[in-house]
Amino acid sequence: MVPTAYYLILAAMLFSIGIAAFLIKRNVITIFISIELMLNAVNLTFVAFAHMWHQVSGQIFVFFVMVVAAAEAAVGLAIILSIFRTRQTLNVDEIDLMKS
């Protein structure tokens, strides 16, 4: 049986990659994907702990996260599409209307 720590290390690596990508990348789609990556890293820790403590609530929480992530993906992609239509770019550095 694989120790729980392995799952957690993997989850931490995925999460860190997600953060790094989120900070470094300029393309909105890539940033979006990196958010998904972080969410899934969290899901992995949930499942790992649920398995470790033999509690089902962690597994249920993962389903919630998946549902919310799916909804978020739908809304997010719609926003990205409309941004692209109005500004002809997906570079976040150029989407700076709020910058003073």
Partner: protein
């Protein structure tokens, strides 16, 4: 006549205060006639109340029973452990005389002001200040404790400042106001210290408590702390009553309107110091050293100011130095223990000096603002009523019998001569010399102003114009206002003042003639009413009666004769110098140029104060306080605080870049920090 209820006493100060509130808040929008009526009404009523009070008190029986402290419940002011003060008024013979002067002469001067100030801007402001002054002055003389007296004391100082600087657009007037205020501050500082010492030693500031405590402890005689209190009070009195070394503000105070000079700087406020010394006679009697200081200050001031007054050319300045000199007389009287004589002179002086100032104002008015006596002359026929009334004042102050000033001045000189003070002969000689000088400079003013040929050039047409305008103006307020409107700022020729100004002059002239008759000494067949009236107040200080009995009347008559001769001598010299041979004075001055210049420049006292006190003080302020403290410490700490905030703001501003990814980075760092604290924090805090 029904006796006046004691609670009515409150109306004496409060009515003028109401007048001040009305004129001070609404006056700007009210027509002049209304402003004048309000001011007159709210000063006439207290005058009537005081008259009623006089009748009540005198009907109550012998003057010895005139003493009551009105202490209404619910008017407690300060009540802490070990100290207590409240809004208490007390009335005795001394207060009655002062109240009579303040409200009576004050009311007359208000009437005069309605005419005199008719042309001026800020009419409402003038009357608001004048009513405020009446309020504070009434509080000052009615107060039953030092603290309330000090309230009035400071209040009249404030009004004096406001009214000296009434023409505040003129730099010299604004500066004179400041000078008066600052010089008085030195005196008030002494007064404050004296009050602190009184609290420390008596635990009370009430006149009754303090004075009865001193009376019960004869062993306190000459105690150092009593002398200290007395000397500090003298410093306060010297500031307010313009005595050496703090007299310098009064001549400059003549920048104010003339009625103000008459009311505040001749008749009432400047006598507050004399009143205070007389009020504290129990305290002063127990310390002969301080009393001697009072006498010496008084005599020195009298002589010094009179000598300066002899060479001044500004008519108001002559009167100002004369006031200082006469106040010196009053101090001299108090200093030799003749408080009643001092108060008597205060009373007569308030009549004739107010008269002289108002008459001088009338002269200035007649000449459309000319104050230099070198440009006056021959006004006797042009302004006859002013001439006659002013003559009464001049004869009164010069000490010619039977005018008022003769009796009071003679009483002071006599009391000085017979006093137990070791210097009494010297003091008497100084007083006598001052009497001669007084007579000389007053008759000099009289001859220069009213006799000789007219020295002001005037346009015949303008003269006629002025005459017709004034022929139409009568004593009523509305007419004055109308006259003011069609007159505008046009210069007009030499003319007599309107009746509203002449009426107070006539009343004061009558008082200057007859006012002294209440104090005719026994030696001249009188009964010395004022001394008897004030007797109960100064009971434990009056040694004069005993002296009079032992020496008989011969000495008193001889001294009176000498002082009359001296006064006539002054008259004769002035007559020769300024009427018979007008060039004599100038020739004499030319021969003694150095002495003349010394006196002419007021002994360089102002310059001396400037060099010895003001310049070093200013240098210290500008060099040390401004450069090091103000710029370094105060501004520096402010700037440092500003710079620190700026620095932090600069750091904080770096975060708000508007770059989404940098926000996300901060977010990640923050989250990492939170996790780190949660994971490692426990073990870390556990060790602490």
């Amino acid at each position: 006549m029904n006796p006046m209820p004691a609670s009515y006493l409150w109306f004496i100060p409060l009515l003028p205060f109401a007048g001040f509130l009305i004129n001070g808040t609404l006056g700007r929008r009210l027509p002049r006639a209304v402003v004048g009526t309000v001011a007159l009404f709210f000063t006439a009523l207290p005058a009537a109340l005081v008259a009623w009070l006089w009748m009540t008190m005198c009907a109550a029986g012998a003057p010895s029973s005139i003493e009551s402290v009105i202490r209404p419940s619910g008017y407690e002011w300060i009540a802490i452990t070990g100290f207590h003060a409240d809004f208490a008024f007390s009335v005795d013979a001394l207060t009655l005389i002062m109240l009579g002067v303040v409200t009576g002469v004050g009311f007359l001067i208000h009437i005069y002001s309605v005419g005199y100030m008719g042309h001026e801007e800020g009419y409402w402001r003038f009357f608001a200040y004048l009513n405020l002054f009446m309020f504070f002055m009434s509080v000052l003389v009615l107060a039953a404790n030092f603290l309330l007296l000090f309230v009035g004391w400071e209040g009249v100082g404030l009004c004096s400042y406001l009214l000296i600087g009434f023409y505040f657009k003129k730099t010299s007037a604004a500066n004179a106001g400041k000078k008066a205020f600052i010089v008085n501050r030195i005196g008030d500082f002494g007064f404050l210290l004296a009050m602190f010492l009184l609290i420390a030693h008596f635990g009370s500031l009430g006149f009754t408590q303090v004075f009865s405590a001193i009376a019960q402890h004869p062993e306190w005689q000459d105690a150092q702390w009593i002398t200290a209190i007395a000397l500090l009070l003298v410093l306060g009195a010297a500031g307010k009553s313009a005595q050496i070394p703090l007299y310098i503000w009064l001549p400059d105070a003549m920048e104010g309107p003339t009625p103000v000079s008459a009311l505040i700087h001749a008749a009432t406020m400047v006598t507050a110091g004399v009143y205070m010394v007389a009020r504290c006679h129990v305290l002063f009697n127990s310390t002969p050293a301080a009393l001697s200081v009072v006498a010496c200050i008084g005599a020195a001031t009298a002589l010094f100011a009179a000598s300066i007054g002899m060479v001044q050319h500004d008519i108001k300045r002559v009167l100002a130095y004369s006031t200082i000199s006469q106040l010196g007389y009053m101090f001299l009287a108090c200093g030799v223990g003749a408080y009643a004589a001092g108060i008597f002179h205060l009373l007569t002086h308030s009549f004739f000096k107010a008269l002289l100032f108002l008459a001088a104002g009338s002269v200035i008015h007649a000449l459309s603002g000319e104050q230099d006596m070198r440009r006056m002359g021959g006004l006797r026929t042009r302004t006859p009523i002013t001439f006659w009334t002013m003559s009464a004042g001049v004869f009164a102050i010069a000490g010619i019998p039977p005018f008022a000033g003769f009796f009071s001045k003679d009483e002071i000189l006599y009391r000085t001569f017979t006093s137990t003070n070791p210097l009494h002969i010297v003091l008497w000689l100084i007083g006598l010399a001052t009497a001669g000088m007084t007579s000389f400079y007053m008759f000099r003013l009289w001859f220069k102003t009213f006799f000789g040929e007219q020295r002001i050039e005037e346009h015949a047409l303008l003269d006629q114009h002025g005459a017709t305008v004034h022929a139409r103006s009568t004593t009523t307020l509305t007419m004055v206002a109308e006259h003011d409107e069609d007159q505008g700022a046009l210069p007009h020729g030499v003319h007599e003042s309107p009746w509203i100004m002449l009426l107070p002059l006539c009343i004061l002239a009558l008082l200057s003639v007859a006012g002294g008759w209440i104090g005719i000494p026994a030696a001249l067949g009188g009964n010395n009413g004022i001394e008897r009236f004030l007797g109960p107040v100064f009971a434990n200080g009056a040694t004069g009666e005993a002296v009079a009995l032992t020496t008989g009347h011969g000495l008193e008559l001889a001294l009176a004769a000498i002082s009359v001769l001296v006064a006539l001598g002054g008259f004769y010299i002035a007559y020769v110098f300024y009427y018979e041979k007008p060039g004599t004075a100038a020739a004499l001055a030319e021969r003694n140029r150095r002495a003349y210049n010394l006196v002419k420049n007021k002994y360089w006292v102002d310059e001396f104060y400037n060099a010895s006190l003001i310049t070093p003080l200013l240098m210290f302020t500008r060099g040390v306080l401004e450069l090091i403290f103000e710029r370094g410490v105060v501004d520096g700490s402010g700037k440092a605080a500003g710079a620190t905030t700026r620095g932090f703001a600069w750091l904080a501003r770096k975060q708000i870049s508007g770059n989404i990814r940098s926000y996300a980075g901060w977010l990640a760092i923050g989250a990492a920090a939170v996790i780190a604290v949660m994971v490692f924090g426990n073990s870390l805090w556990g060790h602490l």
